[in-house]
Symmetry: C2
C-alpha cells in the first residue's frame, strides 16, 4: 500500500497540540465567566447581522485556532444573549456550571456511543445509577429505580420526554390502530410540547382537549372527569392526561392526586411534567410540589434548567418500562449482540427517538459529586428565598401586584395601571442591558416574569433588579 | 434581606478555580488521546459491574474534583468501549476531533439556548451559515440554502431527522386525519429508524411497506411503482419513500433518481438518508453517491459519523421549509417576540421535536475552519483508499470473499467455509483487544464488517487488522 497516505488527516491534532489549544479554550471560558456580568444581557443585533459577518463559503485550507477564537469574540459574541449572566431572569434558567461543563468535556473526549449497553457499558450503567441517585435525592417512588419494573433515562428535553410518554400511552391504549379515537387532555397552562407531541404522535386535530383551569391556573380535575365521560359516551377513547407541576407561565401546580383519581378510574396514562420545578424536590420541604408522583405513569424534570447541569439533561422515568420498550424497540441485525439478547442489560436507544446517544450522565455525576446534595439544596433554597423577598416587595408596592402566587423562584407581577406600563417595565429593563426579563399573558393581561435561578446570580443582582423595577413602576 | 444567603451556591467555582480544574480535564483528555491506542478496544465488563462500583446513594457533601477524576479512571474506564481507538472498525465511526471537542466546550461555557432566534441570535445564524457551508462543500442544490425556500438544521441524529421527514410528509399529504390510509415505503436495507419513526408518527402496523432489493441491496424502483399502484387501487394513500445512500449494513446505494421518478408521478415525499455516506460528498468524485439529491424533499447526513464533528450533529435539509413548519410550529405566549413575529428570522425549535437546543453549530464551525475543506477531503480519501486496498486483499485471498460491493470505506467480507468461520474471525479479533469489528447478515449469511473511518486510524492499523484477518482465515 505504498502509494496511499499513511497517517491521520492533515491538521490532525497530536495530544500535545490538543492540550495547548485546550488550555486556550478553557482560558476563554474562564475569562468569559469573569466578564459575563459586565456584558449587556440581551443581544441587540439585527436579523442577519451575525450571518453577514461570516463568509458565504467555507475555507478551503486550514485556518489557525487563534483566528477562530478571535472571530468568536469579534463575530459571534455580539449575537449572544447571555443565559449565564447573573442578570438573566428570563424564561426559566438554563443552569450551566463548572463541573457540568467539565463532565461534558470528558464525555466529548471519550466520544463513545451509548445506543446499546454493549457499545460502552459504562455509558448505560452510569446513567442508570445517576437516575437512581435522582430518585433518592428527590424522594421519588422506588418503582422508578433501575432495578424495579420502571426506570429512568436522560432525554434531550422535556419535549422529547412528553412525546415518549404519549407514544407509550398510545401503545398501552391499543396502538396506532385506535388513533382515530384516542383523546388526550391538557390544560391551557400545559407546556406547548404536549400539543406538538400529540401532533407528531398522530392524534387527530381536536383530540387534544384543553381542560379548564381555576383562578390559580390549576387544571380542574372535576372538569377533566366530565370531559372524559363525555368523550367516552361519544365513542372516543380517552388515553392520556398531562399534569403539570410548575407551569411555564407561572409555576402553577395541577392537582396531580385528583387527576390520578380520574385517570385510574378511566385507564388514562398520567404524565407529570415538572420540567422546571422538579429540581426543587432535592429539598424535602418542596417535595409537595410533585405530590402524587407515586401514582403517575411517567415523570420528567430537567436538571438542565435549575440543577446546575448543562443542557441537554432531561430526566424521564416510567413506572413500567415494558410499555415504553414495546412502543419503541426495533432490532435490526447489525445491532444484535449477546448482552442484549440475554435480557440482562438495558439498551437505551429503545427509550427514545434517537438511536445514537452521548455519555450525558457523566456531567450529572460530576455535578452531584462536586456540589453534593447539600450544595444542590442550598442552590435551590437561596433562589426561593430571594424570590420570596422579591414577592414581598411587590406585594407592598402601591403600583404593582402579583399576577400569580409565588411558590418557588418565579415571581409574576404587573403594574396596576395596565399592560402598557408593565410592558414598558420589561422593555426598559431589557434595554438597560443589566438584566433580562420575559413576559407571559394571564387572563388577557400582560405579565412580567422574574425567574430567579442563574448559577452566578447573587442576592445583590435581585436587589438591583428590584431597585430598577421599583423606579420604573413609580416613574 | 439580611437573613438570606448572599452569594452563589456553596462549591460554586470562581473563574480561576474553573481554569485550574479545566486544565486538569484537558490534561485528562490529552492523556487519554495519547493512550487510547494501547487500551483494549472492547470493554469486557459483565452486566452490572460498573453499577456495582458506584454508590447506591448520592453524596450529601461536596467531594473533591481529584476524587472524581480518580474514580473516572478506576470505576468508569473499564466500562468504556473505545470508539476513538484507531482500532475501532465497528458499526460506523463516530468521529470526535480536537477542534470539535473544543468547539463543543465553548458552547457549554456559553450555555445559551437557541430555541428562538431571539434567545441568542448567533446560535441560529451560525447554524444557518454552517448548514449553507455544507451545501457548498457537498454540492447540494441551492434550494437547501437558508435564503431559499428550504433550509437546513442540526438534528441530534438521523433517526430524529427521519421522524421529522415523515411528519412533514404526513402534513403535506393531508395530515393526521388521513393516517389510517397513509402508506410509506422503505427497503429491507433502510435504517431501522424509519420503522421507529413510522410507528411514532402513528402509521398503522403494516403500512410501512418493504420494497424488494436487487442482488446488491438496492431498492427496486419498478417494484416500488407496482406496490404504490396496488396500494392506490386498494384505496390507500402512498405518501412517503425513503431512499438510502449508503445503507447501514453494506453501504448499498438505492437508485434515488428512479425512486424520484416514481415519487413525482405519485406525489410521494422522498427522504434521502445518507447518514454515513454523505460525508464523502465533500469530495467531488463521490458526489455521485447522492445523485438525485436535487429532486428529493428532504436529505440528511451525519457529520458526527465521518466528518470529524462530535455527536450530536446530524445535518438535515428540506426543500420547502413551510411544510415542516406547518407540521411542527406551536407558539405559546411566553415565546412570542418581535423578531419572530416579523418573519425575518428562523426559530429552530419549529424544525424538530425538542424545544431547547444547544449551540451545536459552533463545533462544526471549529471543525471546518481547523481542517478546511481540503483537510476534510483528505480525511475521507485516505479511508476510502485504505478500504479499497483491504478489499483487494480480500478479493485475492482464497478463503475469503467480499459479501457486498466496496464503494466507500466499508468492507464486508465472509469466509468461504461458512458462518462459523466468519463469526470466529469476528470474535477472535474482538477478543484480541487490538481492534473491534461488528457484523451483519446478508441473504441469511453472517458477514464481517470493517468500517474504516476513525479520526486516529492510520494505514498501519488497517494493515495490522488485515494481518490478523488473514491468519484467522487461514488458521
Amino acid at each position: 500500500m505504498s502509494t496511499e497516505p499513511e497517517g491521520p488527516s492533515p491538521a490532525h491534532l497530536t495530544p500535545e497540540e490538543f492540550r495547548a489549544l485546550g488550555y486556550r479554550a478553557i482560558d476563554w471560558i474562564a475569562d468569559y465567566m469573569a466578564t459575563v456580568a459586565d456584558r449587556p444581557v440581551l443581544s441587540t443585533v439585527e436579523p442577519g447581522e451575525i450571518r453577514d459577518g461570516l463568509p458565504a463559503d467555507p475555507p478551503t485550507e486550514p485556518e489557525p485556532f487563534d483566528d477562530v477564537l478571535a472571530d468568536l469574540d469579534r463575530v459571534i459574541m455580539p449575537g449572544i444573549t447571555h443565559w449565564q449572566s447573573p442578570g438573566f431572569f428570563g424564561y426559566f434558567p438554563a443552569n450551566a456550571s463548572g463541573p457540568a461543563i467539565l463532565g461534558d468535556l470528558v464525555s466529548s473526549g471519550l466520544g463513545v456511543q451509548g445506543m446499546l449497553w454493549s457499545t460502552s457499558p459504562a455509558c448505560t450503567e452510569v446513567e442508570q445509577v445517576m437516575l437512581d441517585w435522582l430518585v433518592r435525592a428527590a424522594g421519588l417512588p422506588d418503582h422508578f429505580l433501575s432495578d424495579g419494573p420502571g426506570g429512568g433515562v436522560i432525554q434531550d428535553s422535556a419535549s422529547s420526554a412528553s412525546l415518549c410518554a404519549l407514544v407509550a400511552a398510545r401503545e398501552r391504549a391499543g396502538g396506532n390502530e385506535l388513533l382515530d379515537r384516542l383523546v388526550a387532555y391538557v390544560s391551557s397552562e400545559t407546556h406547548s410540547s404536549l400539543e406538538k407531541g400529540a401532533r407528531v404522535a398522530g392524534l387527530r386535530a381536536g383530540h387534544l382537549r384543553v381542560v379548564p383551569t381555576d383562578g390559580e391556573q390549576r387544571m380542574d380535575a372535576d372538569e377533566l372527569a366530565t370531559m372524559v365521560a363525555a368523550d367516552q359516551v361519544a365513542g372516543l377513547v380517552p388515553f392520556f392526561v398531562c399534569a403539570t407541576a410548575g407551569s411555564t407561565s407561572t409555576t402553577a401546580f395541577d392537582p396531580t392526586e385528583a387527576i390520578c383519581d380520574v385517570a385510574e378510574a378511566n385507564d388514562l396514562w398520567v404524565h407529570l411534567d415538572a420540567a422546571f420545578a422538579g429540581s426543587a424536590t432535592v429539598c424535602p420541604e418542596y417535595r409537595w410540589v410533585i405530590d402524587g408522583v407515586d401514582r403517575v405513569d411517567s415523570y420528567c424534570f430537567n436538571p438542565h434548567k435549575w440543577l446546575l447541569t448543562n443542557f441537554d439533561c432531561s430526566a424521564f422515568w416510567v413506572r413500567d418500562r415494558a410499555t415504553l420498550l414495546d412502543a419503541l424497540s426495533i432490532l435490526p441485525e447489525y445491532l444484535r449482540n449477546e448482552a442484549s439478547a440475554s435480557g440482562a442489560v438495558v439498551d437505551y436507544r429503545d427509550w427514545h427517538v434517537p438511536m445514537g446517544r452521548r455519555f450525558r450522565s457523566l456531567k450529572l455525576w460530576f455535578v452531584v459529586r462536586h456540589y453534593g446534595i447539600a450544595g444542590l439544596q442550598a442552590h435551590v433554597r437561596r433562589h426561593v428565598a430571594w424570590a420570596e423577598w422579591l414577592a414581598d416587595q411587590v406585594r407592598t408596592h402601591p403600583s404593582l401586584e402579583l399576577a400569580a402566587p409565588r411558590t418557588l423562584s418565579l415571581v409574576c407581577l404587573r403594574h396596576v395601571d395596565g399592560d402598557d406600563r408593565t410592558r414598558h417595565m420589561v422593555d426598559e429593563v431589557n434595554r438597560s442591558g443589566e438584566a433580562f426579563l420575559t413576559h407571559t399573558v394571564l387572563d388577557g393581561r400582560y405579565v412580567l416574569r422574574v425567574a430567579i435561578g442563574g448559577t452566578a446570580t447573587t442576592r445583590s443582582h435581585v436587589e438591583e433588579l428590584w431597585d430598577r423595577l421599583r423606579v420604573l413602576a413609580d416613574g
